[in-house]
Every structure is written in C-alpha cells, then in structure tokens.
C-alpha cells in the first residue's frame, strides 16, 4: 500500500481527529492508533505529525486537553472536542466531500473497496 502525501495527510488530520473526538475523548496515542485502525493503516500519525497538529487545534480552541486517569491507572492527557471544534466538523466534512466529488469528476477517483 503506498503512503499518502504528507500534505494531504496534514489537511485531513484535523477532520480525522475532530471526528474521532466527537465520539469520545481520547489521549494522543489512542488517537493515532484509532486513525490507523479505522483507515486500514492508510493514514498514520506518529509523534512528530500528531502533536504539532493537536497543539495547533488546541490553540485555536477546537479541542481541549485535560489530564485524566486512563484505564491502565496512569494519568494521560485526554483531548475533548469543544463546541467551537464541533462547529468545524460540518464545514470540514462538506469541504472534503466537495473535494472528492471534484476529484471523482476529473480523475475518476472513487473510494477503494
């Protein structure tokens, strides 16, 4: 399976993270694991690509990090989507939807499998 261009990955990361956190709060490692699992490994975020993105989203007020106890008993910084972040979800989904429609029209791109 070929990797995704980093620029595309960066752009889609915000939508992926907001969509995940909209379901439940997660800490950083769990976010990266879930993104890899749900995308079949196509989208992967490691330490270097995930945390600058998370911190930027936190600065914008889209997500908020809080130290909470994980099931393992250790303290982890869990991210919660904020009301401002929730408001971003619909426009981001629409934007990406339009983008893929356009790609489909011009390049015949369709969801694999």
């Amino acid at each position: 399976m070929t990797g995704i261009d980093p620029k595309i990955k960066r752009g889609s990361g915000e939508l992926a993270i907001l969509a995940l956190l909209d379901r439940e709060p997660l800490h950083g490692y769990e976010i990266s694991k879930r993104i890899a699992q749900h995308t079949g490994g196509v989208l992967q975020f490691n330490l270097a690509s995930l945390y600058p993105l998370l911190y930027r989203m936190e600065k914008r007020g889209w997500v908020k990090g809080k130290w909470e106890e994980a099931p393992s008993g250790r303290q982890r910084r869990y991210y919660h989507v904020t009301p401002k972040g929730k408001k971003q979800l619909a426009p981001l989904r629409e934007e990406w939807g339009l983008f893929f429609q356009a790609l489909h029209r011009i390049a015949g791109v369709s969801p694999a499998g």
Binding site: A48, P52, L53
Partner: protein, 224 residues
Amino acid sequence: MVDHYDHLKICMGELGLAPDREEEILRELSDHLDDHAATVEARGIEGGVAAREVIDGVSNWPEFRKAILAAETEETMMNYRTKALWLPALCALTLSNVLLAGVQVLGPLTHLDWLNPYMRMRPFYTFLIPWFILQPAVGAIAAYWSRRAGGSVRHQLIAALAPAIAWLGVFVLVLPFSIFLDKHGVNHVRLSAFLLMTAIWVLLPALPLLLGAGPFLRRSQTQC
C-alpha cells in the same frame, strides 16, 4: 519499562516555553512513547530494542522541536527566522561595530604614544587587537541568543559571523561598486592591498567570532 522522559528531554532540548507548559508537553510526549513502546514490546520485542525503535520513529528531532514551537506560539516561519537568526545577527553586528567605535576612543592602548617607534602599524595595536579580543564575546552572545530562540546550528553560525559577513559585503560589493562609480576615479587599485584589507576586516575577526560561538554551536543533547 524504559522511561522515555529523560531521553525526550535530551532530544527536544529546552523549548523556551513557560516551565509548566514545557513540562506538560514533555510528559505527554513521553507517555505517548511509553504506550508505543508497550505496543512494540507486546509483539515480543525486547524492552530496550522497543524503546530504541520508538525514539527512532522521529526521524528529525530538530524539525519536530520547531513544529512543536510553531504550534505552541503559532509563529510563522518568518517570525521564527526573525527571532532565531536576524535579531541575533543584528545584535552581533551592532555590538561589534559599537565596540569598534568604542575601542578607537576608549581603547586601552590608544594613548600609549611610547609604543609608536616600535609599531609601524599603529591601528593594529590601538584598536584592531582590542577589537579582536572582544569578538569572542560577540560571537558567543549571538550564538547563545540564536540557540535559545530555537535556531539551528546553521542559524547560530550565521548570527555569530554576521559582523564578518557584513564586512565581506562591504569589500566585495560596496567598495568595488563605489570605486567604479567614483568620477575622480582610482587609477590603480592594488589587489594585494585589497586582499590584505579583506583579510584584516573579514577573516581575522571571523576567527574570534567563531571561537566565542563554538561552545554554543554544539547541541546540548546527545545523539537521539
């Protein structure tokens, strides 16, 4: 299980953020590495090897550090370069030239007229030598400032050598251009004299600047 916190602190170096926030970021990143290492160990890989694997997962620590800082301060790259390169370079240039002016007036050897019979080239001992002696401090200040602002080794080097680079610009660009434009003209420009002056004003100051900057050009962290 290996605690990645100390290793992370070495790899990231000082971030220059508020201490609480810096501690929080390091702790969070360390937790991520711990979880990742645990996942790798669950595949049957030995603890030390797993720890190495997760650390090596970050291919470029300085870039990662810059990305974290940019996210935290929402700086643009231009702001980063201003703080890490241009401001320290400007400081070095200003300080070096203020010192040059200062030693010409207040220099320790300026009034030692008794040295005249013994020294053919008075400028060397009245201001050039004292100025050279002060250049390591200029180089050190610029390199340290650039490093504190998160500058790369290249930025630190350029900032420290800014005075010499500026003088190089004068000799390579400004002087030839002004000679060309000068209506009264200069019939003979002796290359040897030109090269000697370039060496005195560019190469010689560059050495003490580098000497001062040297300790700061080495990154404090060990190999990640």
